[in-house]
Symmetry: C2
Subunit: 497 residues, 2 copies
């Protein structure tokens, strides 16, 4: 774990979140920001392990739900965008005809997107005939090949995903994991026989999100984004937001229902049971390294990180204490370490020859959920001394060390979840009228059922952004805060990252 630099370890108090966050990601050895391109950090081993543990949760959910992993090229030739232009044209005429208001901003978005990509126009000493760009996301690359893979209804559903890096020429201020220019990215792309089948996929996606967020002890707000925040080319977008300690929401996942909009542009059709050619209906589901950003930001404290056990690079650190070089102690410590490892736990044996206090301090910073200390007296008592990163210490049985550790870790998980739920409850307040005073670092829930200009009023008055329709509407109708008409639509207002 070497290479610590004591001098750099002054952790700002977490109450000063805008100082704490950028400091802790480096102090805890997650990333190194000294790489000479803004917004492109180097993943250090500890941070990369955390990210891979989160990826492993995703892989496991993908396997459970029958998604297959693919890997598409990074570079996309510009001329493939022609098909997207077709999509733009189609949506434009739909809009003019008034039939499909959901994609109003798609053509502007395609233009906007071109402003955000990195271009490869040269290779070696040649200028390329057709410029290429680094994928910002993979619709264009994938939907060029999907029509070759899909012929009949028996090829559907097609459920694929990949975990790759995507690139965005970010002009806003960059922040590790939260806003970067090379993004560690997950994207699932599916094709289905019809709209209902695609809708069922979105339901499955939300179930997957729920499982992963539970593993990461992150309570979330799930919202159907307003039309103007819908992903380009999507019929609707459901976004998953985490509330960060500074009261800003961080979008960590999103699911998009495309209906057959992209399918038409990319000629993605299939032959049904009766030999009739039909358009596929599609969905996508994206997540990114922001999940790690949310874990870091939400769970850490003044002393450093706190990893939820399922994502922790090291779940249990084991320390021999006092006469730590005694053979009996080392024997027990090694046996415990081996037992836990062979049961699938990620452990680390810290037998460095330094003061215990220094060790505690190191592992606190790194957010290891459970610390086990074993000394001669513990061995006499048949126990190890277990200290939780979330607070609390107690002896646990050496004989039943595996189940005892499993127990400790699940209690730590529960504690983190309940803490975050409590925090979330204190950070969300109702907005009952437009006159209400807006507090700092507070997310507002509000009954709102207005049109675009009502939304503008709401956002301007509060200085906040509408996250969209909660998946959890009011039980009984409330008065819309702008129009006064009755509605069960519960929406959230927040400052977004």
């Amino acid at each position: 774990m070497g290479g610590h630099d004591k001098a750099k370890r002054g952790i700002p108090p977490k109450s000063d979140f805008s100082a704490w966050y950028p400091a802790i990601v480096e102090i805890a050895d997650l990333v190194d920001k000294r790489y000479p391109i803004k917004g492109m950090d180097v993943w250090r081993p500890y941070g990369w392990k955390a990210m891979k543990n989160i990826d492993a949760l995703t892989h496991s959910e993908m396997e459970r739900t029958g998604h297959e992993e693919v890997n598409f090229p990074l570079l996309i030739p510009e001329d493939l965008l022609e098909k997207e232009n077709k999509l733009v044209a189609r949506l434009k005429s739909a809009r003019e005809a008034g039939v499909d208001p959901s994609d109003m901003r798609f053509d502007e978005e395609v233009e906007g997107f071109k402003k955000e990509v990195y271009w490869v126009k040269h290779a070696g000493e040649n200028e390329l005939d057709i410029p290429m760009f680094l994928r910002p996301t993979s619709e264009t690359a994938m939907y060029t090949l999907f029509p070759l893979w899909i012929r009949s209804h028996s090829d559907l559903p097609l459920k694929t995903y990949q975990i790759v890096n995507t690139f965005r020429y970010e002009t806003k201020q960059t922040r590790s994991f939260i806003r970067v220019r090379e993004i560690h990215f997950f994207e699932a792309h599916t094709a289905h026989v019809d709209e209902d089948a695609a809708t069922a996929q979105i339901q499955e996606d939300l179930e997957i999100v729920d499982n992963i967020m539970t593993d990461l002890c992150l309570p979330v707000i799930v919202s159907k984004r307003p039309v103007w925040d819908t992903f380009p080319g999507a019929w609707y977008t459901i976004a998953i937001d985490v509330i960060m300690p500074n009261g800003r929401t961080l979008q960590v996942a999103s699911c998009h229902h495309y209906r057959d909009q992209w399918a038409v542009a990319f000629d993605m059709t299939y032959e049904d049971e009766n030999g009739v050619r039909k358009n596929c209906h599609q969905t996508t589901y994206g997540m990114s390294e922001r999940l790690l950003g949310a874990v870091v930001g939400t769970h850490g404290d003044d002393h450093g990180l706190i990893f939820p056990p399922k994502s922790a690079p090291i779940q249990v650190v084991i320390m021999p204490v006092a006469a730590h070089k005694s053979e009996a102690v080392m024997e027990t410590v090694n046996a415990v370490s081996e037992k836990l490892k062979s049961s699938g736990y990620r452990t680390y044996l810290d037998d460095r020859d330094i003061r215990p206090g220094q060790k505690y301090y190191d592992w606190e910073i790194k957010g290891v959920p459970l610390r086990l200390e074993i000394g001669p007296r513990d061995i006499e008592n048949g126990t190890a001394f277990a200290a939780r990163r979330t607070g609390g210490k107690s002896p646990i049985s050496l004989d039943e060390i595996v189940s005892a550790v499993s127990n400790e870790l699940s209690e730590i998980t529960d504690e983190l979840s309940s803490r975050c739920n409590n925090t979330m409850n204190t950070m969300i307040k109702p907005l009952n009228s437009l006159e209400q005073e807006i507090e700092d670092a507070i997310i507002y829930e509000v009954a709102f059922d207005g049109n675009d200009s009502d939304a503008e009023i709401l956002e301007k008055t509060t200085g906040l952004t509408i996250l969209g329709d909660s998946m959890n509407p009011y039980d009984s109708p409330q008065e819309c805060v702008v129009t006064g008409k009755k509605t069960t639509r519960r929406q959230h207002l927040a400052r977004m990252y």
Copy 2:
């Protein structure tokens, strides 16, 4: 596994390797070559699983040997090359002084390398102040940060690796896995206190190579490359070549000893126990998706792929036969499948409602090492019928299915290894004189101890390329085939990919 297209399945005979290889990678669903950039294939789920299994072997060896995984940015600003230019200048003057002939070609190589990279000179609508290139390998990126990580001897050895994609603007003909423009790549980079410690690292690397090649049933030729084939900036390069069926050798791995050459250029120093500042000595070790190319090319046959069990995406395919919808059969089939899965085997239950012959055909193409058939009569006998992809069928005990399958798979592994060893032995012949007739598809081993112009004679006369000094020299001195002087230096001559 859907999406098969029967029509496309005409597999050319393997004897026609240049037709067989490009056909089988698509027929077996490893990649799709229809992505519109030459040399950038789409990894399909089956091919990607195979690659990830090979990566898993690498990760496991890296963990065993205490390497830590990092992940560096893809983009490298051109101005970082200044340090490499420093290296060039230093090597040039060393060459002029006659002290270090090993790096003769480094400056030309740096120039050559610029001809092989993809350039990012534009982002959004801006032209970048400093052009960036997509990494062809990561020395420059990593050695910019290593000096910040290494301060004292206690930070050494630094043993890091990453598995990332690298990019090369390849102008030669591209071939899946063998010569591509986006390369799935493994690179280990280490720093040590002195030359000996770096040399020991090279020894460890060769041990790792040996383990991985054994798992992949690939016999190899390990050679110290001639000076003119040494990696730019390296003191020496050890390369690992596999013999492909057409008699061409494929370099699948290489290890480079850098001494302190890069360390000087990048100011990579440390303070030793006595407070003295010293240069690090470094090594790198690279492998790539060529490992999969070697597996495909070496083990396949006229009927399709044959995966060595450790890399197989599916190790065991299980089929209910005859009255395959009978409850008893399905119960047994499911139980066997679960048992094998929970013992860590990658299995697939094929209960499709098609002729068994069609199923055999499918799994033969995909190279699944072991097929288990279970019908009512087998259940009566307490057996499953096991058919090996390498040939041979026999009943195995249902009661001891896990150990029986383990046994079958290790016999398949042994069979593949022994086949390849035999093939290799028939493909390597001694070259006893320059007059000897050169046969097609043959690798020659030769006693050679000449200088550069002797090497040129040897290569010109035979029309072959010198692979370099075998790590396994002759036991007793032989006559050098060009100079006639006695030498134990065993070298190989081949056509290289």
